[in-house]
Amino acid sequence: MNAPFFKYGLFGDETSLILAFVIGIAFGFFLERAGFGSGRKLAAQFYFTDLSVLKVMFTAIITAMTGVYLLARIGFLDLSLVYLVPTFVVPQIVGGLLLGVGFVIGGYCPGTSCVSAATGRIDGMVYLAGMLAGLFGFAEVYPSLETFLHSTSLGQITLPALFHVSYGLLVFAVVLMALAAFAAAEWAEKKTAGKLPDPNGSLTALPWRLTPVRRLAFGLAALGLAAALAGSPYRGARVTVDTRDLALRASHDATSLAPATLADWIIQGRNDFALVDVRSETDFASYHIPTAQNLPLASLNADFAPRNQTIILCSDDGTQAAQAWFLLQAQGFRSVYLLSGGLRAWRDQVLFPKPSAEAPAAAFEKQAQVAKYFGGAPQTTGASAAPAPALPKLAPPVLAAGPAGATQPPPKKKKEGC
């Protein structure tokens, strides 16, 4: 069995909603148990009298972090399939500061305010109303902020990748840092609130006995140490292939995409797929389909996109694309499609379409519009002896001026993050 279950198709969308509710119940339950339905308890974090926020948050983080590492390391969980919110450095710093200010003023964060409202806190309910108002106001000014919100993008990136350190080593470092922060927090609570810690619920209180809480801390530290010594949690480039399964998938018609469909997707501005051109850099430079990225077959590796991303491969006649298709399938990519007929078909069907006897004139009219959009030209006469038309220059109107009928807002993939 392979995880994440949902992304390996173990159950569908409807079931995922039921599971969402169940996971939510558990989330809300633990938040309330921690005391996070109380704004006073949450805000006490910022006056050093009760540092539960720090303790709960970082215990949760290091528990999930070491768990993810171990499950990925033993090959159970495919870490590349776990959704990572893309990094935009400056917006996330600004947003974080605003959230922090809002936290101490409002007393809650969005998740804890739900628990607070559910347990009768009127300020929690008012907070929720404020949040809805804030979101509404934000939506109205969104267009003017869009450039800023997408600035300083680093893509989907982890700290180990940024700093070029091993993932396991960083896991261990974070565990140690969190344990040190817990000790400091207990010291601060004793100083400011003057309360004597309960020895059973504390990491630092005397007497030195191996209480369950200390066992938990030692356990997490030991798992962190194991992570520091073990290898990368990502599945390697060396893969085992189920040839029968792969052959079945390859023989399936649904692995290819018609040029006309791809043209429609590009015109609609869909951003839920990646178009990958596997030809050489020089071929790519001379002509490529708008929005395509170039990844020559020889340099194709598995890290360019998440495994669940829809990928459309193209090459001149489709041979190289088909080879890339096998490589990506073998590395666990779920939805890889071939541009059927390759760029040759793209040229004949999209850029320079010819009217056919059986197709109605209206259909050709639409084809002609699409062709013009991509900088091509419809071939009105059946003069097959004419010289092959030259490929368009590389600056077709990408999104600004679509043909009539293609100006409705693009159907976008819904956000996966919070």
């Binding site: 994440p4 279950f5 949902f6 909603l17 599971l19 969402a20 509710f21 996971i23 939510g24 558990a26 989330f27 005391g35 109380s38 006073r40 308890k41 910022f46 948050m57 215990t59 949760a60 983080i61 528990t63 999930a64 768990g67 993810v68 499950l71 776990v82 919110v85 996330q92 710093i93 600004v94 947003g95 974080g96 605003l98 959230l99 200010v101 809002g102 101490v104 409002g106 007393g107 964060c109 739900c114 628990v115 607070s116 347990t119 949040m131 108002a133 804030g134 979101l135 969104y142 990136i157 982890t158 700290l159 960083l170 619920g201 809480v213 807002p409 819904k414 956000k415 993050g417 919070c418």
Partner: protein
């Protein structure tokens, strides 16, 4: 018959509550391949409401469009929406079991109810805006991204604490 004790039970120890929360987060990674969230569900709700009231306006707003999907199904049939409904249910359940259900206002002794509610509203609005700028809130960014060692999430998390500590002094009357 045992005599029911109606006084609120003490909260759990922070480390064990955090451990439980961490296991829930881990389960979400394993089952769904995504972490927990909260603010996204409210954005979907606002987008759906805007769409119901002024469809043309909402359809032309790129922000709403992102949460409304392609129109093939209700935007409210969304993973985060159901998860947050669960958070309400789970919080309520825990509150009932621990005798903590109470209509009250959380505040310090030095502030009256009306200003406290005004501050709660303001804080909520700031959080809504901040969460959209940062692509997530304490659940979706700090917890989830923290556990995945996400670069942006760690930058975000440090700034949440920095922002809160920087302003805490000025609203101390509200809490202490």
């Amino acid at each position: 018959m045992e005599s029911p004790d109606r006084s609120p039970q003490p909260y759990w120890n922070s480390y064990w509550a955090g451990f439980g929360l961490g296991l829930v987060l881990l389960a979400s990674f394993v089952i769904m391949g995504r972490g927990l969230g909260a603010s996204g569900a409210f954005t979907t709700a606002v987008a759906a409401a805007a769409h119901a009231i002024a469809p043309a306006h909402a359809g032309h707003n790129a922000f709403y469009a992102e949460y409304l999907g392609d129109g093939s199904r209700s935007p409210l049939k969304d993973w985060l929406v159901f998860e947050v409904l669960g958070v309400f249910a789970g919080g309520f359940l825990s509150g009932v079991l621990a005798n903590r259900l109470k209509f009250t206002v959380e505040k310090g002794p030095r502030i009256s109810t009306a200003p406290r509610l005004a501050l709660a509203f303001t804080g909520g609005a700031l959080m809504g805006i901040g969460a959209k700028i940062a692509l997530g809130c304490t659940s979706g960014q700090a917890l989830t991204g923290g556990a995945l060692l996400n670069v942006g999430s760690w930058a975000f998390m440090l700034c949440v604490f920095a922002g809160a500590y920087a302003v805490a002094y000025f609203v101390r009357k509200q809490w202490t």
